[in-house]
Amino acid sequence: MTALLLVGLLAGQFEADLQTRMHLRLNALDSAAVTWFETRPSLVFKPMSNEKVTARIGVELRADGFPGLTSVSQLSQPGALEPVSVLLGETYVRVYDALPGLNLTLGRQLVHWGTADAVNPTDNLVTPDYSDPLTWDARRPVWMAHAEYAPASILGVELAAKPVFEPAMSVPKRWFWIENLPTSEALRQSLVQQLVGQGLDTATARQVASRYTITASEDFQLPKNRLKDMTYGGRVKTHFSVLDLSASVLRGYDFLPDAEPVTVLDTHALTLDFTLRGRYARRTVVGGDAAANVSGIGLWTEAAYSMYDDSLFEDEVSVIGGADYTVAGFYLNAQYLHGQFPLALVQTEDEPAKDFVLGAVERKLAGERVLVRAGGAVDVKHGSFALLPLVRWMPGSGLELDLGGLVFNGKAGSPFEPMNGNDEVFVGARYRF
């Protein structure tokens, strides 16, 4: 790390970013608590940056403000007392005009795939980062070989290959967690109900169920790292008059596992084995997008058709369309999504909610030093919503101070229902230099 710092300083190409934020959950006075306290400093070094080659090394630290102690014996362990994770940021070498018009990038990188503003149905390439509920549209850089060929400004071709699967990171359990693995007691209760349904009276059913040996376990598998399990694909882009168009194909894995419960009941051996199978589904995504501006209104749409390898999953269409406009100093953004919404991580119904309206209104005040934003998403099927209001003060160059909130209103069956009670106020600061 010291060597990298020295190289960066000597090369004179060094950027730093420091963010810290704390959330307070105030839903009940007697249980008001600090639910989030994280600091994320990051450093970027560019040991080389010229017309032909750019090299970049990014490092991100995530310092949890909460001690991670689980026993007295850990009191002498700094890592348990002050948990810090070290993550690799964008770290790559990029060669411009390797051949005329051809740029090649090898390494850990962020590639934006798709033109839509927040949710990209065509993107099955770059791993989402759900670790921070406020930045639910964030992504992590991934190891990739990426080529962009643009022989002229009206035509571009991209190819990408990602050799290793990188799953999405979830929010910390402290902030939000649903226990997918049932307890033995819950399984036993479920067995009692089953036996009652078969005609036994409740007392007898309980007696029978008590004789069963019940186990609950998880069978979780990541995709294998064979070449045929790679993620790869390509995109063609063009623009025509005021319209940007692209079409793409990507083959890879979903970023979140599908959890399938498997129950095996042996009435002779009196055992009940519950296994939660976690698997990542593989699919081919064919899609396209378009962006334009018409009469001062920015318009975009992105659509994707996903074809799953496993017949257990249904092929599906995801579409998002949106518009933005500035009037009287207010920036307005509205989008309609038919597909998976990132914050809707848990769907409890057989027919999950698939239609969402996303919107935001922003206004800059005080000579553009204060930003006021109200944004959120509505689950159309249930009429439930999540809101993210924010006031940001930028007193000086590179410095941002935030005061905001998270508000959830989830009706029964809505993907926002599990987050009822997670309403919070947060304060944060960010400085870039």
Binding site: A16, Y96, A150, A152, S153, V242, N293, T326, G367
Partner: protein, 243 residues
Amino acid sequence: MNLWALLIAVCGIAAAGEPAMTGKQILDKVREVTSAADRKATAVMTITDRNQRVQSRTMRMVMKGDSKMMMTFETPADLRGVTFMTTSTDNMWIYLPAQGRVRRISGSMADQGFGGSDFSYKDMANISFADEPGVEKMSEAKLDGTAVWLLELKDGNGKRSRLWVDKARFLPLQVEQLGVDGKPTKRIFFADFENKEKSWIPASVRMLDLTRGSSTELKLEKLELNTGVKDNLFTESNMKRGA
């Protein structure tokens, strides 16, 4: 009549006999005098708000002809690497390095401040008069003691402006953008013209936002002309490299 008076009269008649330039011809001449095949420069942008608070930005810029431009912010840190590209006033994009994303600048966003300045994205795209407005009216005037043509212009979207052109050198000295009520909303001053390779390039462009009471000055440094910039530089993928 003595010989001198006759000579002056003859010259006067000869001059009166020359055809007067039309507004379009003057505009074309302005473009001819101020254009170059391509330009590269670094620029310092100084923004002063109504409370006299000053912010500074530095940028690199590359232009080809009058319509293709790429500008990359070097400072401050929160704008570092952000790149703006235009190939016409209808086609503008911005590269946001934190997201690795190139985004088309939509119509209403085009009127927003470029890097927090008083220049809008559209102003930057048209900084070399790439748009071809129609000339509605033309007159002669004086601007700070300099004889000028005053052209009243209207672009394809119906927006009106005024342009003051130095009669002797066909250099643009001042532009006034007008609101729907005909009153000026922004005033742009061009100064410190440098003569390089037969082109006159303003090293200083200053914008006054008359409604907000703020100003932005753009000073060009290390100006190079006609270095052989290629058309295929202006692509989305090259925005990641920057200007």
